[in-house]
Amino acid sequence: MHDDDDDVKEKESGWSRRSFLKASGISLSVPLVMGHRVIKVAGAEVKMYGPGKVALALTVNGKKYAAEVEPRVTLLEALRGDLDLTGSKRVCDRATCGACTVIVDGKPAYSCSVLAIEAQGKAITTVEGLMQGEKLHPIQQAFIDNDAQQCGFCTPGFVVACKAFLDKNPNPTPEQVQHGLGGNLCRCGTYVGVRAAVMQAAKGGQKNGRV
């Protein structure tokens, strides 16, 4: 590919395959690469990761996690598999249904369509991060009060999408609710409850709707 470009040269990085192998005493046949190469392009050094596993640091719900995954692993897969934070669900896996919704640096995102490697250094909030200790977030309580869930598989993504929506629109109109939550799909049909839950949460927990 690009390795024959004349301004590209490779050198071992600090957290490199060689030092990793040396440190761990593993034989060279083990297909583990925890580091990156550095190549020189356009007069600057750029780190090239993968295609094997690389060491990642993710900040999820205010906590730092380490993982070792290939660059092709999505944030959703890393959350569910490597971090065992299984609240975010894999459903469409193609940026359509919203079951994997997380908040990345304050914005709602489909974690199925973000690579774990590019999520490093960002503040990631998943549904697991909304509770304050054992206390439910007002949005979560509103989902319960208004029965905005049946099988519950879309619910975590919906709850997170509602959180991001209300952070941006603290006093929404019903029309804004419908427009602002259009990125999440439910199969059991819980939207009536979700609408009521969002309005309840917006009104500081004042019950209405389906309670």
Partner: protein
């Protein structure tokens, strides 16, 4: 001996109230573990190689490259050389590897070659299906020829529904693990915890008792998850080959939509004979349906209205588009759409309000006729039928036309067999154990309500264990059979437990056992509440040993029943320049006997209406006839209604006298039957012509307008 009945209305503390689901906190916090979420230590990832052709014979399989890949732990051929494959996406070879990327790479490295065979993917016309069309014998009742020749008006129409899929958000699959040489632990995504163990054991040739099925939560089933499926068995075989390590194998979304179940299509050319006064006298239908190798079953026609003179012919079309599975109220949405559309067209032809028309013929509905009459009256008030209904074709200027439609439906919903154990400890703590499952219908909540209300305790006092096949067996959750089955079983166990406790407590209260009642956390003498002891004190009389009471369904007493009726009405707007339909409002009036939890019961109906909007307007399993390929195996073009698409929904549950005393009846299926028909009828009322086929997409709506109600360009 207890009398097995439900408490009187004034004695109910929890039953029939609006109780929030007990697993709500787990679900909203992400703590609820679905089978897809199980990540045991050492788990391998399974992937399936699937057939890319609708009908083919396997001529060669080469797994050698995959087997040599680092990290690949097992390869399992599901269907070998020579096997005939009958749908695209069928399971061919499974692999298990240390992580998901490796498993994907291994699956890609497996080479399967096929000899293509002739296939059938069309279902739009039996004449095009050739040898794949399997006509059944005609079915005649009364004297249809006479009825049609003597009718004042004969109305003809064409109606249909395309194939749709279940699209469970949690796809089908499992985490399978051998805990020893002869024992399997199956974290299965299923509607049938109890029944699955033996179905897993059989192909693995181990005793059924050696299989443990576990499931805390399931992300949707809708009739499609009565597995195990071949991928689950494959996961177990891969696990065995990999030394028993857990193997996680869940369908990718495309496979889920292709092979994990579909609702059969149904189409019919219908003739209806009516008198000038609206009396229905004759029905003739030529129907066909497809849904995989078995063809599509004959929908119940005519639906609900047992028209005296009938002639019916049904043709099953065998096709290679993946297997059909029960889809919420099997057959009924199809029968309902076809019948209620034909009846509405008949009413329009004689310029009669369809509400008056159905009410006039209501006696043809048999046992539930009175219920339908009551429900139609309530629904009409809720939607303003008399004020807002107009004759066919909204005459308002401009492109937006508004219309009303109606329909009614029925379902059985009798309770399934269900055992439970109610354990009462000497300290008064109680646990109900039952190998049922909560599909999100509120089964957990209703069980706890029944036990708590029966024992005079708060909801929190009940510990509940479900979702484990080692618990007392309970039926699969299908056909709206769960609530009547499990609640009856739990009620019987609770009443029997009270008998035992009352017998021990009675001497201390200086009363006879039958004079006692359990109320408000106490056991006390009826009519003399001052003579009482706490629940814990009463249970202490049991001695050192807990008691275990087995509850059963069926059993003594009539705690459950079957047979419900519901009516729905819809108010829609249609943009006649674009063919786009918007739901303004849908009203559902539904009975289901005694309601255990009003909140989750209403949720069932809301959900059914939303699912109905989805299949009425958007959902369609689209297959390319030439290569048999499903073109929309994703959630982008397999469209589901979103939060902005459903309009205002109003649910009215029929409760109280005349309903409660029937006992508990299931609710999952009935309200999903009518939405297709009410929306189709409302659209016809708005635009003045019938759009024959669901989903009512813009192309179909515009074609119907252009042809003034003739057959659509593409059905």
């Amino acid at each position: 001996m207890a009398e097995y009945k439900w408490p009187d209305a004034d004695k109910r503390t929890l039953i029939g109230k609006r109780i929030s689901r007990v697993d709500g906190p787990a679900k909203v916090s992400g703590k609820a573990k679905y089978s897809y979420d199980i990540n045991p230590p050492g788990m391998l990832w399974g992937k399936m190689v699937r057939c890319p052709h609708p009908h083919a014979k396997i001529t060669a399989i080469d797994t050698s490259a995959a087997e040599k890949m680092p990290g690949v732990k097992a390869v399992q051929i599901v269907q070998g050389v020579g096997a005939e494959i009958s749908w695209m996406g069928a399971s061919i070879v499974g692999v298990a590897a240390v992580d998901e990327p490796t498993a994907i790479d291994a699956a890609r490295a497996i080479k399967v070659t096929y000899e293509k065979l002739p296939h059938m993917a069309l279902d739009t016309d039996p004449k095009l299906a050739g040898e794949f069309a399997k006509p059944a014998n005609a079915n005649t009742a009364g004297d249809p020829d006479k009825a049609f020749s003597e009718a004042d008006t004969v109305v003809e129409g064409f109606y249909g529904l395309t194939m749709i899929t279940h699209c469970c958000l949690e796809s089908h699959g499992s985490v399978m693990e051998w805990t020893d040489d002869k024992s399997v632990l199956a974290h299965l995504s299923t509607q049938a915890v109890s029944g699955s163990a033996s179905n897993i054991a059989r192909p693995l040739e181990i005793p059924a008792g050696n299989v443990t099925v576990k499931q805390d939560h399931v992300g949707g089933g809708f009739g499609s998850k009565f597995g195990p499926d071949d991928w689950d068995i494959t996961a177990a075989r891969l696990s065995k080959k990999a030394g028993g390590k857990p193997v996680k194998m869940f369908n990718e979304r495309d496979a889920e939509l292709m092979v994990a179940g579909a609702r059969p299509s149904a189409y019919a050319r219908v003739k209806v004979a009516v008198k000038k006064d609206g009396t229905l006298t004759g029905w003739q239908s030529d129907s066909w349906a497809s849904g995989g190798l078995g063809g599509g079953g004959s929908p119940p026609l005519p639906y609900i209205f047992n028209i005296p003179n009938q002639k019916k012919q049904h043709t099953a079309i065998v096709n290679h588009v993946g297997p059909q599975r029960a889809w919420r109220a099997p057959g009924h949405p199809q029968g309902c759409l076809i019948t209620m559309s034909a009846l509405e067209d008949a009413a329009a032809a004689i310029k009669m309000d369809p509400l008056d028309f159905l009410l006039k013929n209501m006696d043809l509905a048999g046992a539930r006729a009175e219920v339908y009459r009551d429900e139609f009256k309530i629904a009409a008030d809720l939607i303003g039928w008399k004020k807002n209904w107009h004759e066919r074709g909204d005459k308002t200027p401009g492109p937006i036309k508004r219309g009303l439609g109606l329909s009614c439906h029925t379902w059985g919903g009798g309770g399934h067999p269900s055992d439970c154990d109610l354990v009462v400890q000497p300290d008064g703590s109680i646990e109900l154990k039952m190998a049922t499952q909560d599909l999100g219908t509120g089964t957990r909540t209703t069980l706890m309500i029944v036990v708590a209300d029966s024992l005079g305790l708060p909801l929190e006092a009940v510990k509940l264990s479900i979702g484990d096949s080692r618990l007392p067996a309970s039926g699969g959750s299908g056909g709206s059979t769960t609530i009547a089955g499990v609640s009856s079983s739990a009620r019987r166990a609770s009443l029997d437990a009270l008998d035992l406790i009352f017998a021990k407590a009675a001497p201390a209260l200086d009363a006879k056992p039958e004079e006692l009642e359990a109320v408000g956390g106490t056991v006390r003498v009826k009519n003399n509440p001052s003579k009482s002891m706490s629940w814990a004190q009463a249970c202490a009389k049991l001695g050192a040993m807990p008691i275990t009471v087995r509850g059963k369904n069926p059993g003594p007493g009539n705690l459950g029943s079957q047979g419900v009726g519901g009516v729905q009405m819809a108010d829609v707007s249609v943009d006649v320049e674009t063919g786009i339909i918007k739901i303004n409002k849908i009203v559902a009036v539904q009975d289901c006997g005694l309601i255990i939890d009003l909140k989750t019961a209403e949720s069932q109906v809301y959900g059914a209406l939303i699912m109905g909007v989805s299949y009425a307007l958007y959902e369609e399993k689209i297959t390319d006839a030439r290569n048999g390929r499903m073109l929309n195996p994703n959630m982008e073009f397999y469209k589901l209604a979103g939060i902005g698409d459903i309009g205002e929904l109003v649910v009215h549950m029929m409760t109280g006298k005349g309903y409660d005393e029937r006992g508990v009846i299931g609710l999952g299926e009935p309200p999903v039957v009518s939405p297709g028909a009410v929306i189709s009828n409302a659209v016809a009322n708005a635009i003045g012509v019938r759009v024959g086929t669901l989903p009512l997409t813009p192309d179909r709506v515009l074609a119907a307008i252009e042809k003034k109600g003739g057959n659509n360009a593409r059905i």
